[in-house]
């Protein structure tokens, strides 16, 4: 039985959090509401509560969105990024997954030392070597190519380690049975190991996607030609153009966020588990 004072405390807490969340979310609400307005309307509404309310749906409601999609390369940037993410997810699962399996199950020379090395590599911040990556890619003439963008991003010590931690708990006898069946180890990996480890495959895929979608520094270095840009770099080139209106800017950043929202709502359980487990595992 909860006492009266506890109940009152609960309501005060709820109201406090509600007020906090309203202040916290005002930029997002403002962004959404004004992405449907002309610049004249945005300025006119600025001083009233209408600044946080979208206009009445009607003719020209999606005007900003339509003009961005038809007059700029924006849709192409979005598709580019989806394409890069798909390649990187596939290559990443194959390369890091195979390595993780080797480090978990195959007794090959120096295995424990490789594991230690992979662990140590995780503490090197990428910003340290990004200049050298840029120099290397430039020297071999791969600037402004998809390959030049993708190659340095495939291998990921963190994902190798993640795969290893999951594969290490797989039963050994299935592997031995597969060997008796003359099932080739590589085939066994793709037809048995990966399907048995759907959770880690999903986790790695989701985090790879978010990483590729949100990355800014590396694509801004590699890509200069406007055909190949990713969504983040493309958004910057569109919004820094003087002809882009404020409403269109807000429409662009809303659209760039939509795929991430879809991913988060589909995989919220995996993401939250991933986030909290990094905390509890290392903390």
């Amino acid at each position: 039985m909860r006492t009266k004072s506890e109940k009152r405390f609960d309501w005060i807490l709820t109201i406090l959090l509600l007020v906090l969340s309203v202040f916290f979310l005002f930029p997002v609400v403002w962004m959404l509401a004004n992405s449907f307005k002309t610049d004249a309307a945005i300025t006119a509404d600025m001083n009233t509560i209408a600044a946080f309310i979208p206009p009445v749906p009607g003719g020209g409601f999606f005007e900003n969105y339509i003009s961005i999609l038809t007059n700029t390369n924006f849709l192409r940037y979005m598709l580019n990024t989806l394409f890069y993410a798909a390649i990187l997810i596939l290559c990443g699962i194959v390369v890091n997954g195979l390595a993780g399996y080797a480090l978990a199950k195959i007794r090959f020379p120096f295995r424990e030392r490789w594991v230690l090395l992979i662990l140590l590599l995780q503490i090197v911040p990428m910003e340290t070597i990004i200049t050298i990556h840029f120099l290397m890619i430039a020297k071999v003439g791969l600037l402004n190519t998809v390959i030049g963008y993708i190659l340095p991003m495939i291998v990921n010590p963190f994902n190798i380690f993640l795969f290893r931690q999951v594969f290490i708990s797989l039963p050994d006898d299935v592997y031995e049975a597969a060997q008796l069946d003359f099932c080739s180890p590589v085939k066994y990996f793709f037809t048995m190991v990966l399907p048995m480890s759907k959770t880690v495959v999903a986790t790695v895929s989701v985090f790879t996607f978010l990483n590729v979608w949100n990355d800014y520094l590396w694509p801004s270095l590699v890509f200069t030609s406007s055909d190949l840009l990713t969504a983040q770099i493309g958004l910057n080139s569109i919004t820094s153009n003087d002809n882009t209106t404020m409403g269109q800017t807000l429409a662009v950043i809303t659209m760039v966020t939509i795929p991430v929202i879809i991913i988060y709502s589909l995989f919220s359980k995996q993401i939250v588990e991933g986030v909290t487990s990094t905390g509890s595992k290392e903390g």
């Binding site: 969340s21 997002v28 390595a99 340290t128 807000l250």
Partner: protein, 296 residues
Amino acid sequence: MNRKKSNSLLGMTFFGPALVLLTIFLFVPMVLTLLFSFTDYFALNPDLTRFVGLGNYFKIFEDELFVQSFFNTVGFVLIILPCQGLGALGLALLINKVTHCKKYFKVAFFVPVVMSLAVVSTLWMQIYSPEGILNTLLKNVGITPQPFIHSAKQALPSIAVMSVWQGVGYQMIIFLGGLQAINPGLYEAAEMDHASAWQRFKDITLPELKPLCVFVFITVTIGAFRMIVQPMVMTGGGPSHSTYTMVYNIYETGTVNWEIGLASTMAIVFAAFVMILTIIQTILTRDKEEKHADKK
């Protein structure tokens, strides 16, 4: 014997692709960065490269711009760390306690995490603009319009506030996970002893969360140390280099000015800081695991 041989062949087949890529894109760049940091390598004129020993290391600490970018980065960390760390902890404690609309609160404070740094930076450029929504709101409560990112004094704190806004939900989720993992039996026992709410917080919640706090605070510090996208999009490092960070300096020195030698030296100094923080984190959090093992 044969089995062993086939195992090492198989191991290398599986590990090989990753090893090749690790070598080309991690080991070699790391070694090159270290080597270049002792040279005056200028990528537009590589033939003139000379070995300069520790010269670059003295040079960058005499370079006003590098020193400024270093202190900007430290300043940014000093604002972010208490705001984001304690903010996330506070939010998690409140949301853990509340019984109404719990799910809404979790989502609401997590929303900005979903947005990328480029998106958030673009949005807040509009919000911070001289005639923007924030200044309009401030005017209504009687505060004169502020220049925010357009003044050397306010630009860094403005970007820091925005970054806290963007990131705090992530750490909040980590803390919520930690709070839910605390054994409820501890609280029940405290209740039997008639412990006050404050005592329960001080003697159960805080000690149980301490390892997680160490983890979160150091992760936030490292994240803040690596800042570059926000000033790149919003201010270009200005006004008068007030938002020029260490990584921004490395980036421009290396890829715009092509001074690979100098950029490598800065990168080594930067990496040293981040790695020291990571090692501290590992030591502090490992301590806790051993203590836990002792208890059992």
